[in-house]
Symmetry: C2
Subunit: 366 residues, 2 copies
Amino acid sequence: MPQRPAQPPAAEAGRRIATAHDVARLAGVSQSAVSRSFTEGASVSAETRRKVLEAARQLGYRPNLVARSLITRRSSIIGVAMAYLENQFYPSVLEALSDAFGRRGYQIMLFRTRQGESSDPILEEVLRHKVDALVMASASLSSRFDVECQQAGVPVVLLNRRTESASISSVTTDNRRGAETIAAFLAAGGHRRFAFMAGLENSSTSQERQEGYAAWLRAHGFKEPARIAGHYDFERAAAATRALLAGPERPDALFCANDHMALAAINVARGELGLDVGREISIVGFDNAGPGAWPLFGLTTYAQPIQAMVDQVVAITCERLADPAAEAVRKVMPGSLAVRSSARPPPTGIVLRQGQQIWEPPPEGP
Amino acid sequence: MPQRPAQPPAAEAGRRIATAHDVARLAGVSQSAVSRSFTEGASVSAETRRKVLEAARQLGYRPNLVARSLITRRSSIIGVAMAYLENQFYPSVLEALSDAFGRRGYQIMLFRTRQGESSDPILEEVLRHKVDALVMASASLSSRFDVECQQAGVPVVLLNRRTESASISSVTTDNRRGAETIAAFLAAGGHRRFAFMAGLENSSTSQERQEGYAAWLRAHGFKEPARIAGHYDFERAAAATRALLAGPERPDALFCANDHMALAAINVARGELGLDVGREISIVGFDNAGPGAWPLFGLTTYAQPIQAMVDQVVAITCERLADPAAEAVRKVMPGSLAVRSSARPPPTGIVLRQGQQIWEPPPEGP
DNA sequence: TTGAAAGCGCTAACAT
DNA sequence: ATGTTAGCGCTTTCAA
């Protein structure tokens, strides 16, 4: 009998964990027959499979995924990299990813990156664990990361971020269009002194939202919006709001690059300064996830279709796994402006869709 | 040359992923020397290790954790089961778990359970993936789950839940004491008509908080608190609050079994009914995580020491991994009552600690 | 359809 | 300190 290692790792109560060999012996078949019985579409007779399944049940046998991974070179694990779970958008995304990948037989391995920092520190762990693919949300991608994953054959899909690299797929909401819609909405609502709160400087998402907003205002003859930075952080967003609202020419419309910062802004404007948000100042966010929908906030925000985005991520990932030569896909999803009470609305253009007030910009006149 | 499987899984750009063999060949040593060079505390000469590391660098070699797991019977993966990430307490816990286990060389695999449902559906996945241990937060444990994990030698540690089973470790906050403290706080604040909002019926956490609250009130001659159930769900908590506050004898103090429900209650009380929370009605929560600390809520709540709890979970898990025969530990951590504005405070007893207002019950007089 | 045999990439005795 | 060897538990040829 082979000696056990000093620290019996999974030894328990005398009974060893059953292997395919044990099952084979009990069922009176070969070990490969056991393997086949647990493989979708393998050629086994009904009778053999029955015997195997019965023996497996008796022994409490379960195929060892680690051993399977070693030979199939597929771990059934999807890595998910996220920077901060404080912004409720990301826990929601995580839930949806876990459910959607779970339905296709994958489990999620979570990798934490640091807000605003490179995600390189997680590279080693991602690669060592042989995840089948990596989904990055709220994390940015260095070119070294990109290259290493490509060499290792690990597909990377960005969610809510884009990159220039041709090899990296991404799924985003149409940030430009969303920001333009918000600008049009605020202008139609009679606002004149615009402001924008940026997230992180190197975030494609924040950049696109700023550009869309500023470009629309410029094209329609409005003054360039004031710009502050909240770095996607509640406290920093609150501080930026304080500074902005204490200034000489207080804006009457503030678009924040995400809901998390918009909620910080509302907390300062109403909670600290006693402003009537939605009348004295309008605050708009982007995401439509989390507390923004609560009555006390009533945050008007551009909604990202989380479920549809996650479905796209899963589809792209699986496509890439089935055909490693498949080209990178950059999917841009449509969103919609959810109208609540945190911003003074235009007199027209608001429609009710699926229990939610939506505003759509009127077609541009000639 | 052995034939490749039909679907080249990790094939890329011609270059195969380097194995320890490749490194050994390039470095001119045996493959076990390579293995040793990557193993903490193995006996290798400095010179050999240098050669190996250099060759590994050239080839971009990284030890394959799947292969290692197969032989060491340790996956370096900790399963974390969670039911709902909507309550910000859990994303915070998840972050802390990921960081703390990450520092000890473990990665987190996430398993989603359904709120209020059995966690049995994830059992198969947990066992197949050979996680080294399982941490369950906001999830309840069936006896079958317990037994199977024990047989498989997978230690289970509950976080924020307890169970009767002698084999299961748990880390909780002192729920009874917390609830008693809240009752004493509200009584000292002059409240007389008490109410309690429960979470899920089968949740040990909710039960303990209810018992502590009711027992203290009973012992001090107050009327039994009214009881409603929010099922840990925002919408259901909101509905329960509506029903409660529409009743004939409106309570002046409502203790909710967690912050998430307390925030729903505030949204209804202030946002829908226009009540002045903290003056006309006092609302207290339990957790101290997430939006409760925002100025607009100012939620008074019993704080769970998340970091300390997670540190305990990690310590217990590692202890159990080092010595599988170690006994189950049930750790009960002290919390503290964070005083903000959502409940009328007593005239005395509030102290400032680490920038946070804290209330401590006076010693019981004879 | 089935079994035998050859590994997947690594660790851990064991012998040197 | 180092190399040789024997697997870890499984999938997948290959022959029968």
